[in-house]
């Protein structure tokens, strides 16, 4: 009896990205990065797939003359803002908050291109080991402390201090498995007052990505280490300051005086934690939220009928796939792995899982990640799949386990894979586990692992973060996430060469080669990259999605 009211659901509040297609005669085209138009003719009860116009809008508000109740932008997010310390935070929502408070030397824009931030220019030396940044003049922290080269050096010293034990230390020094340390950056020094240089031990192409995540803290605060409570007050040089951090509920920021750049128009930004998708939409309708992310994909109709809400869909850096353990006898045959890829109807996957708001995987990298090289997709072809299975001696299929997280969305994806593979007689046993349990299972080393197939997703903003972490031959668990246990010397060689390349073009050439090798060998079932879906009130202008999260820095509110 007592349990009736305890209708517990741990992941009940997972983004309800559901399909809205019904009675659709044709396989819907699964959007390219920019635009798709679906004509859904035929069936009377067909509802729409998510389609975007050329600017990425799914719905454009008809009423645009509404007024905001106050000069405050309320951003309703699904998950928690776990951390307010810029040196340790890692979850996407905290990173989003940091974006408004702290400056980094460089930052990414919505096209995944690097932009100047606190540094207005930079150079990389010939040997790709020295990165020099020229800091803008006139940047100050709230208490007037100048943002100069010495300040970056102080931040570096605090970051690597083992006593602080901050996560940002990994940017410079990694602790290896035998407890020895590998130094990546052996020196950070002031070249002159406003020029700072990072010296790398050996070339490491994802380094700029790390720099983009290195928030610079007021040096008088950062030296206090863990004695300073960042949840009580921020210490940045960005346009906003932290006013209130209520864990599990909301985080409020307000504009501060003396920001070096163009002053944002919005005075207050409040992040609210709203786990339930339906509630986020309700808040947007009533104006209790100004921006909502993520927006559930089945709410397009509600949003359209509200009339004063814009909804956008932009490509993401999330890749969804299933790893195929090459040590499993049946999966060790490349023909079987290819057959499995041919047996998956990717268009149906995108429709069922994301209402069309996704892009078919055409490489191991999502299209917007720099270095992406398009491969020839494994077009859904059951005949071909069956004949490959027969060739490999598996015409009658085999039994196999598929693990994944136990959220409704992940379970749905696994069920889809099961349904598809049943077409070529593969009997998939779907086993959803709690995420923390999965983390444990998938960290088992090669000789003791029980993982056969793993339905999972990955997001990174650089190619190395995909290729090396997921497919490199030494990235096997527990070190990396190569649960395909796929080992290919040619692939490794290309990734290493790309890593050490001095120019972007040369690097991309190697990465393209690596992608082609992986694509041919099918260590995964390649599925799709789903879009970011966000919506906002029409009295707010110009909301962008950047790798750091929601960007309203250049938006205006019609008050």
């Amino acid at each position: 009896m007592a349990n009736i009211s305890k209708n517990v659901s741990r992941r009940g509040f997972v983004a309800a990205a559901g399909a809205t297609v019904a009675g659709l005669g044709l396989a819907g085209c699964a959007g390219n990065s920019d635009s798709t138009t679906d004509t859904t003719t035929g069936s009377a009860d067909s509802t729409e797939l998510i389609t975007t116009d050329k600017d990425g809008f799914v719905v454009r508000a008809e009423q645009t003359d509404g007024k905001a109740p106050a000069n405050e932008c309320i951003i309703a997010l699904e998950g928690a803002i776990q951390d307010t310390n810029p040196m340790t935070c890692s979850d996407g929502n905290s990173v989003n908050v940091m974006y408004y408070i702290y400056d980094t030397l460089v930052c990414w824009d919505s096209n995944f291109e690097l932009q100047p931030a606190a540094a207005d220019s930079w150079e990389i030396s010939e040997d790709a080991c020295t990165y020099t940044f020229h800091i803008r003049d006139g940047i100050t922290f709230e208490d007037g402390t100048p943002f100069d080269a010495a300040c970056v050096v102080t931040n570096y010293q605090a970051a690597i201090d083992p006593a602080n034990n901050w996560r940002r230390r990994r940017m410079f020094i990694r602790t290896l498995d035998d407890d020895t340390e590998e130094v990546r950056v052996d020196n950070v020094y002031a070249v002159d007052e406003m020029t700072v240089a990072f010296h790398l031990v050996k070339p490491y192409s994802p380094f700029m990505n790390s720099v983009s995540q290195f928030s610079i803290v007021n040096p008088t605060v950062v030296v206090q280490g863990n004695n300073y409570d960042y949840s009580k007050g921020s210490a940045g040089s960005g346009p906003y300051r932290l006013v209130e951090y209520a864990q599990g509920d909301h985080t409020s920021l307000e504009l501060r005086e003396g920001y070096w750049g163009e002053e944002p128009a919005i005075e207050k930004i409040t992040f609210r934690e709203v786990p339930e998708a339906g509630s986020r939409i309700a808040m947007l309708q009533t104006g209790e939220a100004t921006v909502v992310y993520p927006t559930p994909s089945d709410q397009v109709e509600t949003i359209r009928s509200a009339g004063d809400i814009n909804m956008c869909s932009t490509p993401s850096n999330i890749m969804r796939y299933v790893t195929l353990n090459n040590d499993v006898e049946a999966l060790s045959d490349v023909r079987v792995r290819q057959a499995m890829n041919y047996a998956i109807d990717k268009d149906a996957y995108i429709r069922v899982m994301f209402s069309g708001a996704a892009t078919e995987a055409t490489s191991v990298l999502p299209t917007i990640v720099p270095g992406y090289a398009k491969q020839e997709p494994y077009k859904f072809d059951l005949e071909k799949a069956k004949s490959l299975m027969e060739e490999a001696g598996y015409a009658d299929g085999f039994d196999i386990n598929l693990i994944g997280d136990n959220s409704t969305q992940e379970t749905k994806g696994m069920t889809f894979v099961m349904q598809q593979l049943a077409q070529i007689n593969i009997n998939v046993n779907v086993q959803p586990n709690e995420p923390a349990t999965n983390a444990e299972i998938t960290a088992e080393p090669e000789d003791t692992t029980t993982v056969q197939m793993w339905y999972v997703n990955w997001s990174q903003s650089d190619a190395d973060g995909f290729l090396r972490s997921l497919l490199y031959s030494t990235s096997l668990p527990p070190i990396g996430y190569n649960t395909a246990f796929w080992k290919n010397a040619d692939f490794d060689e290309q990734v290493d060469a790309g890593n050490a390349a001095a120019t972007v073009d040369e690097q991309n050439e190697h990465y393209a080669e690596a992608q082609s090798i992986a694509w041919e060998a099918c260590p995964w079932l390649f599925l799709a990259s789903d879009n970011y879906l966000y919506s906002y009130k029409s009295y707010l202008s110009d909301v962008k999605m950047i790798p750091n999260g929601i960007d309203v820095m250049h938006s205006t509110l019609n008050v």
Binding site: I4, K6, F13, D177, V274, P275
Partner: protein, 306 residues
């Protein structure tokens, strides 16, 4: 009775000790590693080991338990692994929210549930009884996410009378307490009805009626008073469940309550938060049940404490 209460309170101490051991073992032995959760996906084993050492998770379980329990005696409930706050900092702001929500939910659901139960029992077998039953069963069967979202649509989105979520104003408590209380209202209506029917057929009620006492007095003073034990038992159980929180209602109305915190903490393997929460829930259950037992005695002096 004073002696009884003292005895009960004292008996809580060994019990809490048992609870602390069980919860500690449970959370530490289920698969999943907080160090891995903290370290994140890009961590090396060395980095994970560092964190494990720093948190003392590499030490023998017994030693970890002793460290934790000693901390509690000094008022230190540990830290949250997921956000570097102390457990106290994390729990204290949630406590009043949970208490208000519990009080609001239980008040309305008890009043209405008991009223439905009494009315149904008096009109036993008539239409009113059946209507009461259907309302009660609907209250239990309605998924509370559905009820919550419908209420939100009507009162927040369409009528704009109440906020969609959050508990920054008193209005914010209305919809969540209605959603949380629906099931309890139903349960109390059923229990009240059945207990009242039983008591209304007892000899003393016939005697009272035969004496010519007015019917309302018979019902309220005699029958209802005797049904109170059942009602209190069930109410106590439900209050306990309410304080442990409803993850669904808390999620629907974006309330930073205990239920969501527990579920998130278990998911993160945030050991010390989970341990503190379970200890807190245990104390709270024990106190409420003690109160219920004491109330039994006040209402029906024939109940003897042994």
């Amino acid at each position: 009775m004073g002696k009884y209460i003292v005895k009960r309170v004292l008996s809580m101490i060994p019990l809490l000790f048992v609870v602390s051991v069980i919860v500690f073992m449970f959370i530490h032995l289920i698969p999943g590693d907080p160090a891995r959760q903290i370290a994140g996906v890009d961590a090396t084993i060395g980095e994970i080991d560092n964190i494990r050492r720093q948190l003392g998770l590499d030490r023998p379980l017994v030693e970890q338990y002793v460290t934790w329990i000693t901390g509690i005696f000094h008022g230190d409930f540990g830290i949250s692994y997921s956000n570097n706050m102390t457990v106290a900092e994390l729990l204290i702001p949630r406590f009043p929210i949970t208490i208000y929500l519990t009080i609001c939910s239980i008040t309305w659901s008890a009043l209405i549930g008991i009223a439905i139960g009494v009315i149904a029992s008096i009109n036993r077998g008539k239409t009113l009884d059946l209507v009461g039953m259907v309302i009660a069963i609907a209250g239990i069967s309605l998924p509370n996410f559905w009820l919550g979202l419908q209420l939100m649509q009507i009162f927040a989105v369409d009528l704009r009378l109440l906020p969609t979520g959050g508990v920054n104003t008193w209005q914010g408590y209305i919809l969540p307490s209605v959603s949380m209380g629906a099931g309890i209202m139903a349960i109390l209506a059923r229990v009240t009805r059945s207990s009242m029917i039983e008591n209304l057929n007892k000899d003393y009620i016939r005697t009272a009626r035969a004496k010519g006492l007015p019917e309302p007095r018979v019902i309220m003073r005699h029958a209802f008073k005797n049904s109170a034990i059942d009602i209190i038992t069930v109410t106590a159980l439900q209050i306990g469940a309410l304080i442990a929180g409803s993850v669904v209602v808390e999620s629907v109305f974006s309330i930073p309550g205990m239920g969501r915190l527990l579920v998130d903490s278990i998911g993160f393997r945030d050991y010390e938060v989970v341990q503190a929460l379970i200890l807190f829930f245990s104390v709270e259950y024990m106190v409420i049940n003690l109160l219920a037992d004491v109330l039994y005695g006040i209402i029906n002096p024939r109940v003897r404490y042994e």
